[in-house]
Amino acid sequence: MQSWYAPAYRTACLVLSDSSGAEEAVQEAFLRMWRFRDAMPEGDAARPWLYRVVVNSCYSWARKEWVANGRRAPSAALDSVAESSPGPDEVVVSGDRASAMRAALSRLPEPLRVPVVLRYFAGLSEKEIALAIHRRPGTVKSRLHEARRLLGADATLTTFAEGKEGAR
């Protein structure tokens, strides 16, 4: 569990843009894993299964927040977190690439954000992501493409990239 906790927590943080929510979701995910340990597949399928439980717990947490906060959409909750992150100019000045990326990620729609996190942070293949989020590999591929397009057009990352090139 010790070795799994950190990647699971960071994945949940990137998906939810909320550290306390990520903590709750990961705790719930590990409890679910223990409860349904008999259903855990063996071999290569175990990793996507674990991430699937984490992602599902994130969805459950976001849904609970949605109900609890006067039916405010989860994306709105994530937007509010994104707004509190530094703006493009501050990012360029501070050179905080990580913050810029997290802010850009939190602005992505949730159906695109989850595959991006699972692909480029967790390192899952498109097929494994498809297993994890219960979608066809073709859908995952198109979502990743759309996510890359949106991130490429994101003002924060663009400004940061221009600043980086200018510095060179």
């Binding site: 109900v67 990326m101 991130l151």
Partner: protein, 340 residues
């Protein structure tokens, strides 16, 4: 567009910069070891889901039952025979029983059919020609008489824009199948549906209730003879009166049931097809368009007319399901938080 390598590096940088709480694994172990951990809540949620599912299922069953009961019942307001057909009315009228309920074959108890008490009903839709409508009605009347039955209701229009109508024939249960076979030969069969309802349990229940009430009345009559005071006498008499009214009510139900079991009813719908509409427009496309619109409207009308009850049931089911879903999503999380 951002490249995969750039994205990979950026996301690892973004994720790697997130501080992992050191107490996280310990908190999970503590939650797992807790005597009232999250699973209790989850189990509760599952119970609530099961309850919600059960509620939705019950609502669906009730809706279906309402649909079946309303659709199998006889249509209210079926008038006596039409004024436009005095000859047929004269032929049918005298055969209608005065009370509208056939005589029971036994003393109050329904007739048995192979040990079971079965109520059989049916609906036959026939397509007939306008010219032969009067003759077909007379044939149906003759069939009813031939099988020892009668026409319990009729509503026929020979003229006007919608010639046709409905005749309800009641015959002894043993002749029901023969009646259907003969009636089918009168016109072109568009549809036939029959329903058989087993009322054995209802009959047995009524019999048992009647026996118990009769015993109670007998005991009260014994008490009546022993009553010394006037107040006691009046009290016992009141009780006897009440029990007697219940006995008569059950006997009435038994008679009705016996009539329904011993006589099966067949509703025959006689429909005269409309002549094809000839468009005045020489344009073939316009004619086809009007035909298509007319067909669509007629189809919707027929759907609403025949599935009205079903649509009502489906709507009732949807409303019930929405209510349950709303409670589940809206109220239950708050209640659960308060409980927690």
């Amino acid at each position: 567009m951002i490249t995969e390598d750039e994205l990979d590096a950026l996301l690892h940088e973004a994720g790697g910069g997130i501080a992992v709480p050191a107490h996280g694994p310990a908190a999970i172990l503590a939650a797992a070891a807790s005597p009232t951990p999250e699973p209790t809540v989850v189990r509760g949620r599952f119970r609530f889901r099961e309850l919600a599912l059960a509620g939705v299922s019950v609502a669906a069953v009730v809706a279906l039952a309402v649909v079946l009961v309303t659709s199998s019942g006889s249509s209210p307001g079926v008038s006596s025979f039409l004024a436009a057909n005095p000859a047929a009315r004269a032929a049918l009228g005298p055969r209608l029983p005065a009370a509208g309920v056939p005589k029971s074959t036994t003393h109050g108890a329904p007739a048995a059919s192979g040990g079971r008490e079965i109520i059989a009903t049916g609906t036959l839709r026939l397509e007939v020609t306008r010219a032969a409508l009067g003759r077909d009605v007379a044939q149906l009347d003759a069939l009813a008489a031939r099988f020892g039955g009668y026409v319990s209701a009729a509503n026929i229009a020979e003229s006007g824009t919608h010639p046709g109508g409905t005749i309800v024939i009641a015959v002894p249960a043993a002749s029901f199948s023969l009646l259907i076979a003969k009636a089918e030969a009168i016109g072109r069969v568009r549809s036939l549906s029959t329903t058989k309802t087993d009322v054995t349990a209802q009959v047995v229940d009524l019999g048992a209730r009647l026996t118990a009430l009769v015993d109670e009345r007998n005991q009260l009559e014994v008490l009546l003879g022993r009553a010394g005071k006037v107040s006691d006498l009046l009290a016992v008499e009141n009780e006897i009166e009440y029990v007697q009214s219940q006995i008569e009510q059950i006997q009435g139900e038994q008679r009705t049931l016996a009539a329904q079991v011993s006589y099966s009813s067949l509703t025959v719908d006689l429909a005269v097809p409309r002549p094809p509409h000839v468009s005045s427009s020489p344009n073939g496309f316009s004619h086809a368009w009007h035909q298509a619109v007319s067909g669509f409207v007629n189809g919707v009308k027929a759907l609403v007319a025949h599935l009205g009850d079903l649509l009502f049931g489906v709507l009732a089911f949807l409303v019930a399901a929405l209510l349950v879903f709303g409670l589940w999503r809206g109220v239950w999380p708050r209640v659960r938080r308060r409980i927690a």
